[in-house]
């Protein structure tokens, strides 16, 4: 749990990422071009935003399986508020964001108020939120958004995709909160030993409630960017997102048992996954073959970490 140990995992991961980038660059000359890298960053933003919040969740020893469903529900509500209720689009966006955030708050409320294990609580809301998205939309998609709306998902600022700026800003904020504030220290303390944290006067329930609410907000934000990027709204958006997000966070060295993990690790984990997906695709591996590699990398990285820990401990 010491700083040196935390840095160890991230150093390994950073080296691994650099090697992966080098190998992928040598396999395809299309990989290491600014256009490709920026485009990959664009694709990474949605998973990335959610992964930042998920890092907090997992550091407390919890998990949130409902993020993909919150994304889907927010996307559907955005479409419904705008198209069916006739609200102006900016109002629809704000209202949809509020609903997604509220969905996250409900997760936190169920977990803290009733003591339901996060895995089960969010398994239930995974089904519930996706079910609401399906029921409300009845599988109808919403299209025809005005041109200005596509800026969030397709626009650029100073040559860099808009959502990459957003992800960068969010990363800094998340890293500062987790690494430098009392809130961050409370997050680690809860994950290390919740009972001890409670007895040392940390407001455990309030902290957790904030974190699950933030996960809802990040998922909702990702939903707006997703809709803007693909220009349409469908109820199956974000299906399976939770697996991508958790893979990135765990690969980044955050312990699934809680108490350990960093934002930098998560970002490195995300970059490694995105680079593998894109690089392998460019070098001719068929789309789904890359999923196999990600699974192997996930198990391999955790296995290496576990063996490493054992050697240090014993």
């Amino acid at each position: 749990m010491t700083a040196s140990k935390l840095l160890r995992h991230e150093t390994i991961l950073a080296v691994l990422t650099v090697i992966a980038l080098a190998v992928l660059a040598s396999l395809s000359d299309k990989f290491f071009t600014p256009e490709n890298l920026l485009n990959q960053g664009r694709l990474m933003a949605e998973v990335g935003l959610v992964a930042l919040a998920m890092t907090f969740v997992i550091v407390t020893g919890g998990i949130d399986l409902s993020v993909g469903s919150i994304l889907g529900l927010t996307a559907i509500l955005l479409g419904v508020f705008w198209k069916n209720l006739g609200l102006p689009l900016p109002a629809a966006i704000v209202l949809a964001l509020a609903c997604g955030t509220f969905a996250g708050w409900i997760n936190g409320f169920i977990i803290t108020r009733f003591g339901v294990p996060p895995l089960i609580a969010t398994l239930a809301t995974l089904a519930l939120y996706r079910g609401l998205a399906e029921g409300i939309s009845e599988a109808r998609s919403v299209r025809g958004y005005p041109e200005w709306f596509f800026f969030f998902g397709q626009g650029e600022v100073l040559g860099v995709p808009f959502q990459l700026w957003l992800l960068g800003l969010a990363t800094v904020i998340a890293a500062v909160i987790l690494g430098l504030t009392p809130f961050g220290r409370a997050t680690y303390a809860i994950g290390a030993n919740e009972t001890a944290a409670r007895f040392s006067g940390i407001r455990v329930d309030a902290t957790k409630l904030w974190i699950y609410t933030a996960a809802g907000f990040c998922s909702a934000l990702a939903a707006v960017i997703f809709v803007s990027r693909v220009t349409t709204t469908r109820s199956d958006m974000g299906t399976g997102l939770e697996l991508d997000v958790i893979t990135g966070v765990v690969l980044g060295g955050t312990s699934i048992f809680g108490g350990r993990g960093t934002i930098i690790g998560t970002v490195l984990g995300l970059i490694l996954i995105q680079a593998l997906k894109n690089g392998l695709a460019l070098s001719g591996v068929k789309g789904d073959g890359t999923i196999v590699v990600i699974g192997l990398v996930l198990i391999g990285a955790i296995l290496a970490g576990a063996l490493f820990d054992k050697n240090r401990g014993g």
Partner: protein
């Protein structure tokens, strides 16, 4: 099976009720559903519909038996849906390639047991949490399946291969499997040393070790058993329709886990029964069918399921709190 710890002095009935509370609730819900929906729309009770409810969902119930054992042991498997897709594809491929039928049935089951024993060994001996290992396994199985088959459908399987469609004495074979495996598994969990050791390991691993149980071997064993049930489920899934789609059935792992949890298996490990999970799988199937007969849009099915899980879990937590 919390009945084991029931205090002396209570009547047998009380002990029975406290041990099987969740199972009884689920069972009564199924009966109530049949009565109410049957009264509103009698076609719900037709032979065809009841057959399709039971036969079409037996594989989910069977997979949920294995999942219940995994959860009772304090673990989880999120890759079971992908595994069932892979098993079905292997079985179908073998069947249309002219191998003997028993090979097409047996090889995928052995494959499933081997994969899960491997997962169990990783979980038991490296202490990597099962959710992480099975998350990785989900990627590997799903990606492997799609990239090897390119999503091509398998058709024209020999009729003698289609075990789920056979109807000895007029009842679908899948139903026999579901009933027999549920009873066998329930007896196994209750009356064998290994079955009891699964509860012990899920309840408290170190206490189990102190009591002379080898927790690592138990975990590998329970994953291998789960592989067996997933294998049988996969074969039934493969043979219930005339076509195998060579894809991962969407959200299947979720349905299976949900059946276990609603059936009374505590996600905290150590308690629950396989009878409950089978009943819960049947209940889901009934609700799905009932919504159609009540003219409720099928789009709301998942929202209803989500609310049900939530209600069950909250009730479970309330009961625990009272028990304390």
């Amino acid at each position: 099976m919390t009945a084991i710890a029931a205090s002396p002095g209570r009547s047998n009935l009380q002990r029975f009720l406290s041990g099987y509370g969740q199972e009884i609730v689920v069972f009564l819900s199924i009966i109530a559903l049949f009565v109410v929906v049957g009264a509103i729309n009698p076609r719900f009770l037709s032979d065809t519909n009841i057959n399709s409810i039971f036969a079409g969902n037996a594989y989910i119930a069977i997979a949920a038996i294995g999942m219940s054992m995994i959860i009772i042991a304090g673990h989880i498997d999120v890759s079971v849906g992908a595994l069932i897709g892979v098993i079905a594809t292997i079985a179908g491929t073998l069947a249309v390639s002219g191998y003997p039928i028993w090979v097409a049935w047996l090889v995928p089951i052995l494959f499933s047991i081997a994969v899960n024993a491997g997962v169990g060994a990783l979980v038991a001996y490296t202490r990597i949490p099962s959710i992480v290992v099975t998350l990785g396994m989900l990627s590997i199985l799903k990606g492997g399946l799609i990239s090897l088959t390119a999503g091509e459908w398998i058709t024209d399987m020999p009729p003698e291969f289609m075990i789920a469609q056979m109807r000895p004495f007029g009842i679908p074979a899948a139903v026999y499997f579901m009933v027999a495996l549920t009873i066998l598994a329930a007896l196994f969990m209750r009356y064998t040393d290994f079955g009891r050791s699964i509860y012990a390991v899920g309840g408290n691993m170190e206490a189990a070790r102190a009591a002379g149980i080898n927790p690592e071997r138990t975990v590998v064993g329970v994953f291998a058993l789960h592989g067996l049930f997933a294998g049988v489920a996969g074969i039934l899934f493969a043979t219930q329709l005339q076509v195998i789609q060579s894809t991962v059935p969407p959200n299947l792992e979720l349905t299976v886990i949900t059946a276990s949890v609603i059936g009374g298996v505590s996600i905290l490990g150590g308690t629950g029964t396989v009878i409950g999970s089978t009943l819960a799988a049947i209940l889901f199937a009934c609700i799905g069918s009932a919504l159609i007969f009540l003219n409720v849009s099928a789009y709301w099915l998942r929202a209803v399921l989500g609310l049900m899980i939530l209600a069950t879990v909250l009730a479970d937590m309330a009961r625990r709190r009272r028990a304390k």
